[in-house]
Symmetry: C2
Subunit: 348 residues, 2 copies
């Protein structure tokens, strides 16, 4: 099977994805009978390009784009593209739109509009952007079904750790009844540094220097990032129909973190934990809160960089996944896993 890919957004994850496809080219052909070619890319800073016949990943990885504007000379059959993401989606011949733009997480834009346009045009969509899935999962799922295309988003939570693909392909005939985990890395890094004696400000500055905290940390510290993630989990795995603003965010923010840190008993570990659970009445309640974990709690033991999620399932009971180290390479793997899942679904 030949599949054409178009990249909307191409930052660290996009570049890691191109490199991963290049590295796995032979394996994809031999194990999955799958040949992937890139027919276009669009970015805000380096513009875009379209190549009707497609470019192989290894060839694309060797070019200067997206570090610099597209040089048509360097890739025969290609042309530079001027225009925004929506114009690119309308113009680029592709089977799958890979949506990797940086986004406003409170609205999901512009990714939401990109995904909607791609699905309406009959393209499969893979995204690593959690905003559109948190804000509009049911609408997008119905649109994809109506158009007979796939919408996949493994990398929206815990990078490429198999969660949605695990639930769909490896936990058959199973109902997920709850999810729980320390879903916001920045908050938990800051709390970990505070436990080692740093002030909140020092810890936060370290996270920002490390590149994994936003310039405006309130999105992390006040629980919005975790609320968006737990909304995605609850809506996809438990069909909750939640909005991020319906997630109870309890006692969060910088002042609450300092107070909870000061009140911690010896041996306890403070974490910002997110959870969603189906109650006796069938309603799903989701919360993000600061929790003092006892010494032997698995979540208390996570080292910086590790993330974890516990699923509660009617068949398996509790199943916890821990990701050792997340980064663009792991996120890129989730995108590739989704592309392969699409190939399997349409080839079946």
């Amino acid at each position: 099977m030949d599949l054409r890919l178009a990249l909307v957004g191409c930052g660290n994850v996009g570049r890691a994805f191109i490199a991963l496809v290049a590295a796995k080219e032979a394996e994809l052909r031999e194990r999955y009978d799958l040949r992937l070619r890139f027919t276009g890319g669009a970015t805000r800073t380096a513009g875009g390009w379209i190549a009707d016949e497609g470019i192989a990943a290894a060839e694309l990885a060797a070019l200067t784009w997206p570090g610099a504007a597209w040089q048509p000379d360097a890739a025969p059959g290609s042309r530079a593209f001027e225009g925004d993401g929506l114009a690119f989606i309308a113009a680029c011949p592709t089977d799958i739109v890979i949506e990797l733009t940086t986004l406003n997480p409170l609205t999901g834009e512009p990714a939401l509009s990109h995904i909607r346009a791609a699905l309406e045009a009959g393209r499969h969509v893979v995204t690593a952007n959690k905003g559109p899935i948190a804000h509009a999962y049911r609408e997008l799922r119905e649109l994809a079904q109506a158009r007979g295309v796939q919408l996949r988003f493994e990398s929206t939570v815990m990078d490429g750790t198999p969660i949605f693909n695990l639930a769909e392909f490896s936990l058959p005939a199973t109902s997920i009844t709850g999810v729980r985990g320390p879903l916001n890395s920045t908050s938990n890094y800051v709390l970990g540094e505070m436990a080692r004696g740093a002030t909140l400000e020092e810890a936060l500055a370290g996270a920002q220097r490390g590149g994994f905290a936003e310039a405006n940390p309130n999105y992390d510290l006040e629980g919005w990032d975790a609320a968006v993630k737990v909304t995605v989990l609850a809506n996809v795995l438990m069909d909750a129909g939640l909005r991020p603003d319906e997630v109870a965010r309890e006692g969060l923010g910088a002042d609450a973190m300092r107070a909870a840190h000061a009140a911690l008993a010896p041996g306890e570990t403070l974490k910002q934990m997110a959870q969603a659970r189906r109650g006796e009445d069938g309603r799903i309640a989701a919360t993000v809160a600061l929790v003092a974990l006892p010494p032997r709690d698995v979540f208390a033991q996570l080292v910086p960089g590790e993330t974890a999620l516990r699923l509660e399932a009617d068949t398996m009971g509790e199943l916890t996944l821990i990701e050792g180290a997340g980064g663009p390479e792991q996120t890129a793997f989730g995108v590739l896993a989704d592309v392969i899942a699409i190939a399997r679904a349409i080839g079946a």
Copy 2:
């Protein structure tokens, strides 16, 4: 799709599987278009039965077998069957043989002969027995391929926790380069009780009363159980071609456990750990050993009943799975997951 199932062996796991299929009957029909019927069962203690048209799970669950011999009157169209497992496999009309006999783990028998006979007869096979997979995986895999049937064994390690199905369906285009975990529950229960002040003998007696330790504990304490499990993991996930007796078992057994316990530094936790890893030279080395884990190691935090496995993968780095509580229900889930995987494969 209609699939006929035949049970070879029907103890706790077999009964839990029948109950699970009964509970999930509507979901299997609606989500997977799958109707399962039992066409026979065979046990050493209660004999066997065959029903050419099959019996629904809910109906089978209501009968006295395998608590007592088969009563043909209670299930119209059925007959009692006399004979051993091989004779049953030859006689029972079925699509899938579910192999759940108790076995000699050092030889894999009689399960190995059952599986070989079923595959040769063109039946798909699902087993929860690790012995045959540890001792004869390549032979059985090739036999299944030659006959165009499936051989699945999710429940051989960590009950039904998705490991083999995770690797196959949810970690595509990935090479597993290492596995590591406290794979033997009995040893780790005993070590945990010793950490709380019990003698090895007291802890072992408790495990035997609890029903999860064998009458002869040396199979667990001397590392054979973990060696068999890590052989299965290495052979299936890493194509290692190992035999259980090629796994290095270092400093194990009751005396070594007492000595290592006495030598433990404050805060450390002693575990019997199994691992397999591909070395620089491409060779896979597997070991079972007593390891003193530091306080913040995730494996050190497991409570009794929890099991865990860490996969090292070229795409995802380290991915750790923790099963909260394992028992016949979880093992039965793994068997059902395998049955559904067979249905998907042959329906595709």
